[in-house]
């Protein structure tokens, strides 16, 4: 697989953040997540998206990609338990993407900030695990 440019890495992360924002907004509208938790997670993702957009502006960005609700999200919104499982998977995807990006991005000044978002996404997974009643929060 060809190596991605820094702009492509940032765009992929932004697309993922937009999916997370859409998911939490939908869950809040449908009462599929605790309001305080859902608002906190959504707000964090919005801050991440803003930061990525700012980094992209500096790097010379392409047009933003549209994000549409997936069938999986629609199905997950039926209950808080099913949305929590969906969100845990999406946050795991985000965590993996940031872990890879923080190491691979060529601009070394972006590695630490991407790592700080990575740590935040890891914390989101812990918050969701607590919300579903898991008593052992780390594997």
């Amino acid at each position: 697989m060809a190596e991605r440019s820094d702009v492509e890495i940032l765009e992929d992360l932004l697309a993922l953040e937009n999916r997370l924002i859409s998911a939490y907004e939908a869950a809040l509208r449908r009462d599929a997540i605790d309001v305080a938790l859902g608002e906190t997670l959504r707000d964090h993702e919005q801050e991440h998206a803003r930061a990525l957009e700012q980094a992209l502006r500096h790097a010379g960005r392409r047009s933003p990609r549209a994000s549409v609700p997936t069938p999986e999200l629609t199905a997950a919104l039926r209950s808080r338990a099913s949305f929590a499982r969906y969100a845990l998977e999406l946050e795991a995807e985000a965590l993996a993407a940031y872990t890879e990006a923080a190491a691979a991005i060529r601009n070394s000044r972006l590695r630490q900030p991407l790592g700080s978002i990575m740590a935040c996404e890891a914390a989101h997974r812990i918050a969701l695990r607590e919300a579903v009643g898991e008593r052992t929060l780390v594997d």
Binding site: T40, D43, H44, E45, E47, H48, A51, L52, Q54, A55, L95, Y98, T99, E100, A102, A103, A104, S108, R109, L110, R111, Q112, P113, L114, G115, S116, I117, M118, A119, C120, E121, A122, A123, H124, R125, I126, A127, E130, R135, T136, L137, V138, D139
Partner: protein, 182 residues
């Protein structure tokens, strides 16, 4: 400032600074081994911190029970895995991984932990410092493979920090950027 915060700062920040001071960072570099700039020295510093933190968790466990004990044991097990991984990485670079100090040596630098809140406050500060150390390493490590390892361990440290915060009754994430911002 509330007494609780003062106490937490005393037990967390100052004590964690002592742990850092005791983890061997001031030892002279070896005369032989990996080439300068390989990243081995930085990995050695991370390893020394992991040794100290693993010892700190053993001390924390003495005053914890229930969910807090279950979770800190799981975290301590991950820290031991980090130790093994860092040792392997340093050996792969031709280096000699620094050994940890004795439990008694570490114990002399730890605060007296009287209750679970003391132990968790201490653990939170240690995890903060570990997250910061791995994120800083991302900037400095020269090789993609080493940075990937640091990122993976850093992600686990982020989860550990969040878990400790939950056990303290705090939000898992303290903000959108755990240390710093874009």
């Amino acid at each position: 400032m509330a007494p609780f915060l003062t106490r937490r700062e005393a037990l967390g920040g100052a004590a964690a600074a002592l742990v850092l001071a005791s983890c061997g960072g001031g030892d002279p570099p070896p005369d032989t081994g990996p080439r300068p700039g390989s990243g081995a020295a930085l990995l050695g510093s991370l390893l020394a911190l992991e040794h100290a933190v693993a010892a700190a968790y053993a001390t924390c466990e003495e005053v914890l029970t229930g969910d807090a004990l279950r979770n800190t044991r799981a975290i301590a097990a991950q820290e031991r895995e980090h130790v093994t991984r860092l040792q392997d990485l340093i050996r792969d670079l031709g280096g000699d991984p620094p050994a940890g100090r004795s439990a008694a040596e570490y114990a002399r630098t730890f605060p007296r932990l009287r209750e679970p809140g003391d132990a968790l406050a201490f653990a939170e500060d240690l995890e903060q410092r570990q997250v910061r150390a791995y994120l800083e390493a991302l900037t400095e490590l020269p090789d993609l493979g080493l940075r990937s390892a640091a990122a993976e361990i850093g992600a686990q440290e982020g989860a550990q920090l969040a878990a400790v915060r939950v056990l303290l009754g705090l939000p898992a994430a303290q903000g959108p950027f755990v240390t710093g911002a874009l």
